[in-house]
Point group: C2
Amino acid sequence: MSETTDRPYHHGDLRRALIDTALGILATDQNWTFTLREVARRTGVSHAAPYKHFRDREDLLRELARIGFIRLGQGMTEAVGAKGLSVREKFIVGAGACIDFALHNPGLYRLMFSADADKTADTHLHDAAMDTFGILLRLLEEGQQNGCFRPAAISALAAASWAQVHGLAMLAINGQLLEEKVGMEPVRAALDVLLDGLCQRDGHTGSVYDPEPYPKVI
Amino acid sequence: MSETTDRPYHHGDLRRALIDTALGILATDQNWTFTLREVARRTGVSHAAPYKHFRDREDLLRELARIGFIRLGQGMTEAVGAKGLSVREKFIVGAGACIDFALHNPGLYRLMFSADADKTADTHLHDAAMDTFGILLRLLEEGQQNGCFRPAAISALAAASWAQVHGLAMLAINGQLLEEKVGMEPVRAALDVLLDGLCQRDGHTGSVYDPEPYPKVI
DNA sequence: ACCTCCATGTTTACAGGAGAAACTTATGCA
DNA sequence: TGCATAAGTTTCTCCTGTAAACATGGAGGT
């Protein structure tokens, strides 16, 4: 009830303002069912204004996802970059940063990994996602060169690690880690399980590339 | 261009027909952006007819998800039930069935685990999901009683396992297991990693419930 | 056989949203 | 000074979800 129509015709940085509004709604509602018109309304512009900055609704969603990947990457880089950590500790801390991010930004995190943020439709989004994924890859390589992680194909370790961390994050977000809230112990324990599996050991290692595929998968 | 208006006024089993149509669209488009009107149209009824069988659009989506969980559960039960398998083999085969299902029904699988199929809003859906989840739990218990799996809290093992399998399924669906298609080897290898971690071993087991939480997580 | 009820359809109506097109404003630059 | 253009606004069309009122025909009681 303060500003009447004294807003200048040109917003200044409407694109940024729209993104902020959308991120705000995403954080509040934990979903991205908001309409583009609502974003415009809350930002105080006409419902067609956003189309000057985003091709369509999905274009905005992809931009939000891209920002999400950048922020996630920053968080993980920061966590992993701490001095004096072993590879195993880096791994734990990096995964923790990811799950932490997911828990603090559940809507955004879900959007980032949803089909509505189609990575094949936006090079920038794809690149941002790959940059973040690269943090994990470098960690695995480091651990492997260390002799700490088993010498299986890096893609296999990456699949296992990424599936585990992302899976835990999704379970944590959905509160499905357990029927009742038990805190973060299961997460920690699950990561221990993963790391114990990743680590160098005597037996089994040879079976990693067992030629026979398991049944019923393409 | 064959049937004019000879269709009987009462469909007979419109509910089922609508579900089948929706499942068909889901399988084709790999998303659930279809409108309720389109489902009605393709089923050959008026656009308001579905409301006699589903409260709203989400109600239909939840029913689709429920059916998905039942089918997934059937596939996994069948796979795990094969005679003469070790627990480890059962695990591999069960996970394979899950990933197999996801690869063959990517749209449905994504819907099942999306927020659009809100499990808190539908007891039947929640129950179906829990039944399927129960397959994994029973397997873990069996392995633990065997002495094959480490004696950590079952919730921890479940978190690790479920995160891994579901994570792999999502990565597989999204083609993110690797830049180029490399087949299912990484999946197999990732499951080996998980199983090696799940298994009984000498060291580390004690650290599973390390009292100090890792940094930066709530 | 007939009447009546009610689940299952259909038609009509309305409030919104996506997005295109045409119009307006103000700003940077020649 | 003045115009080209980016950035907003208005207006319009088509579509959706969903409610309400109406139609139909099969099942059950008489």
